[in-house]
Amino acid sequence: MANLIETTSLSKRYGKKFAIKDVCMHVEKGNIYGLIGRNGAGKTTIMKCINRQIIPTGGDIMLGGVKLNRQKNIKVGALVESPSLYEDTSAMQNLLYKCTALGIKDKKMHANNLLELLELSKVKDKKVKQFSLGMKQRLGLAMAMVGYPEVLMLDEPINGMDPQGIAAIREMLVHINRKLGTTIVISSHILDELAKFASVYGIIKEGRLISEFTRETLESESFSSITIVSPHIDDVITALTEKMPVNKDMLIKPNTLLIKNGAQASKDISRFLFDRGIYLEEFRVDHLSLEEYFMRLTGGDEIA
């Protein structure tokens, strides 16, 4: 599938320091792209560049195959850093202003639909300064979605939200991604949450995009270990020695064997032990979480 967003050697320098350098990012149409990196890694800078907030020092951004500056047909809605709202006006009015600027014909209906989608209908006439952080985030999302843009750039959109709110936003994003085909680029510190719905991931470290991988790749590469529990653990070790380097040092309990980094062959191992007729109480394959996978890729000491 063609890339909807593609950056080539995208760089942004502040003084002598590069905030991002040579970022080559590929976001296919319809993807939910999770951008992961620790604080100051450059996630927000990439989003700001694509949202035209800042001007890149080098490189290109292609949107729908056309240079960003010349692209007039594909719209990018964004919630980058904090929601941008007029605090002394109501939620409805904030949306109506943007609807007017975008020339949306049935402004009120459009704004009402968005408020309903984000569960803000009951507080639509309340002034934004009276909103909680979570409500502001949701209104910020509604603002980003005005005119149903083809691309949504969301930087930490679930910050300050309660678990129910996070789940609701996740469902809503999946819904608009599936129903409207909206391509979403999202960053979040809550990697487990991101792992639940992103289809592609990009890992950024110190301003460089070090890896891009799909959810399938993550699932296939993130096997971590196999735990085998058996009353005949000596027989298990003896049998497995024929297939792989196994010894008694791998016993974590008297009847529990832990095989690290060999989990890709889990199916072979289970069949092999079954064929030998060895009774197993438990055979468990543990996967790496997105967070663990991220840490492995970034050197282990990173915190997203």
């Binding site: 035209r52 980058v80 941008s84 709202l85 007029y86 006006t89 109506l96 600027a101 975008l102 980003a144």
Partner: protein, 287 residues
């Protein structure tokens, strides 16, 4: 472009600072009228001369009134002075008082900066960036709103001056042309100054800094700098002769537009426009 202007027009109508500033301007004119009315009833020769010095640059009137010495002015003369003062305080005199002119420039600068900088401090401008050429459209829209702001405030002053004239017991004016002509002359400076205010906001992308600079400019602070430059004789001409606010202060009801005002106002407006467009296109948005 038109949609962005529509949005700004909606916002303009809900801008509190615009209404507050206009009400302040109107209140000053009305309070001044009440004060003059009191002077006309109970004031001394000193009071009358004070009022004249604050309200008019009309030298003939001043000379005539200053000829009356408080020591020689008897009751009949005082009454005559009061009648003269009352009839002198017409719509255009009330609206064009020198202190009103300064106050209006200060408040125009304030409203402009508050209105334009709001999109920076709330970062609302970010929401509009999905439009093609959004930043340019945003700037043009703000430039188009500027005369609307100024005319709105002028209308407030005119209404207040009208009320003031009626408070003073003068008949409803039949001819608005002198006032319109005066306001048209000051509009040149106001628009130029407003464009300068927009440029300062675009340059600083900060509200407080922009307010301070524009307020200082509205009080003609730059004249001190021009005078310093003039003392050094580094330029072949006197820079203080070309100060926008200095030239603006010479605008009066009866006086013609200073010769150099149009070129100076035009140069400031043009430069502010060009720099604003360059800055908004080429600089990152700090939000």
């Amino acid at each position: 472009m038109l949609n962005m202007f529509r949005m700004d027009l909606r916002r303009f109508l809900r801008t509190k600072s615009l209404y507050i500033s206009t009400i302040v301007l109107m209140a000053v004119v009305i309070i001044a009228s009440i004060a003059i009315n009191a002077v006309c009833k109970y004031g001394s020769v000193w009071d009358i001369q004070d009022v004249l010095s604050s309200f008019s640059s009309n030298t003939d009137m001043k000379t005539e009134m200053y000829d009356y010495s408080p020591s020689v002015a008897d009751a009949t003369m005082l009454e005559a002075m009061k009648v003269k003062l009352r009839s002198f305080m017409t719509l255009e005199v009330l609206a064009s008082a020198p202190f009103m002119s300064r106050l209006s420039y200060m408040l125009i600068a304030l409203v402009c900066v508050l209105f334009v900088s709001k999109d920076y401090i709330t970062a609302y401008l970010k929401n509009l960036l999905l439009l093609p050429q959004a930043k340019i459209k945003w700037l043009i829209s703000k430039i188009l709103i500027l005369p609307v702001i100024i005319i709105f405030m002028y209308l407030g002053i005119t209404l207040a001056a009208l009320i003031g004239q009626l408070i003073l017991g003068n008949p409803f004016p039949s001819d608005f042309m002198p006032l319109i002509s005066y306001m048209a002359k000051t509009l040149v400076s106001s628009i130029s100054f407003g464009l300068f205010s927009i440029f300062i906001v675009v340059l600083l992308q900060k509200r407080t800094g922009a307010i301070i600079i524009c307020l200082l400019m509205s009080f003609n602070f730059q004249r001190l700098l021009y005078t310093l430059i003039d003392i050094t004789k580094a330029l072949p001409f006197k820079l203080s002769d070309y100060g926008l606010m200095t030239l603006t202060s010479r605008i009066g009801i009866d006086t013609p537009l200073p010769d150099t005002l149009l070129p100076v106002a035009g140069a400031i407006a043009g430069l502010s426009l060009v720099l604003s467009f360059v800055l908004i296109r080429r600089r990152d948005l700090k939000m």
